[in-house]
Point group: C2
Chain length 243, copies 2
């Protein structure tokens, strides 16, 4: 039986931005070059870790990578098992190397797997310190690509994952100047239908893989009906575009 | 009479993050070291440009700084005059140096003076290209300092400037899991009163100058009643803190 409290050290949760490796912060780069081992999340055993791909060119050659699997399932018990395994692996590395880093695309505290790792670590390994380093989030990067102000003067913005919030979308559009839709995925058709109904379809822009070679900017959302959307897409709806 | 259309070149609008100079992105640093002249905003003639202070250590010695005044007034005509003067100065530099940069704290498209410069430039100097580079915004930096997840699973977040939105605050608290309050300033007392009324005072944290030597984290907002707040403060209210 291990004594979990005996493991001391530090985990850096590092936001690495939306996908363009130059959007890493100086601090993120410094941390990634300081630690020996870097943990990166991926969706399944055979998959590729997007985060790992992004930072490969920024990291020093000596870095050792460990991929952690966070499957896309809604089964809490299965997820918990994976989080606990991930936390145990991180703790083992900290035991040997004193500190390590976990990288996450975008910002670590916005819809990120890091949040679960952080919680599980706190529960099981209370003496491991954590430091979280912010990253450029996907909607800021997307807004910059189309140079659309997210918030001007005294405007209000709502940010939400579409998947479970379809019912509250209409109210958000009514009350907010800017609405950022994340995790649109299979719900895009329903979003398009709603935007048409409330006459905001022309105010919506979809940005996928902002700033990357395969970036997509779609101003006519209707053209996307029945199409599949990439995981890294964001839809920005601005009611009164002033610029 | 100048021919404004004849001026061609490029302005980089560079987000430099919340105040910690290591939170600049690699891209921001690259741009700032590439251009000769850097424009930085300040509130009045005698004031200090916070943005300039932040980047001084990141920039190469050869950079030339020009401070632009954006006064804190609500008079649209006065403001317009300052924006036009700023745009003209930027254009003159671009005429000589082909490209230049304007730096802004936080993210350039979230409550930033850059937005006005961008608009004025587009109006008066249509042939000047612009590229906007995202920055770490204040609420992401603040959330990281207290390691409070802003958005988990399918949660919803509202971001708003308190100053003109006091009336819609209660609804935002009702409908959103996370509410980020910016530009709280002199309205803090009213915010505290409302948070007490709706029983969320214990869910609020004020973070001022995140990550800087004089950072302040206040979890008991009542202690701030009748106190003045720094310009760079943000209040995060999370209804159901899961971590």
């Amino acid at each position: 039986m291990h004594n979990h409290s005996a493991i001391k050290g530090k985990l850096y949760g590092v936001g690495i931005g939306p996908g363009e490796s130059k959007l890493l912060t100086l601090k993120a780069k410094e941390v990634l070059n300081k630690v020996q081992t870097i943990f990166a999340p991926k969706g399944n055993e055979d998959g590729v870790s997007i985060a790992k791909t992004i930072i490969k060119e920024t990291c020093s050659k000596k870095n050792n990578f460990i991929e952690l699997i966070f499957p896309m399932t809604k089964d809490k018990n299965i997820l918990k098992k994976f989080w606990q395994e991930a936390a145990a692996k991180v703790a083992q590395t900290i035991k040997k190397e004193k500190e390590t880093a976990f990288v996450t695309i975008g910002d670590p505290l916005i819809y990120s797997t890091y949040i679960y790792l952080l919680k599980t670590l706190r529960e099981i390994f209370p003496n491991i310190q954590t430091e979280t380093i912010p990253g450029i989030n996907s909607f800021s990067a997307a807004a910059c690509r189309i140079q659309l102000p997210l918030l001007e003067a005294n405007q209000k913005m709502a940010v939400l994952a579409v998947s479970k919030n379809l019912d509250s979308l209409e109210e958000a559009f009514k009350n907010f100047d800017t609405v950022v839709l994340m995790k649109v995925g299979s719900k895009l058709d329903k979003v398009i239908k709603l935007l048409r109904k409330i006459n905001l379809i022309k105010n919506a822009v979809l940005i996928s893989r902002a700033g990357q070679p395969d970036e997509k900017i779609v101003r006519d959302l209707s053209s996307l009906e029945d199409k599949k959307l990439g995981y890294l897409s964001v839809v920005i709806v601005k009611k009164n575009p002033r610029v």
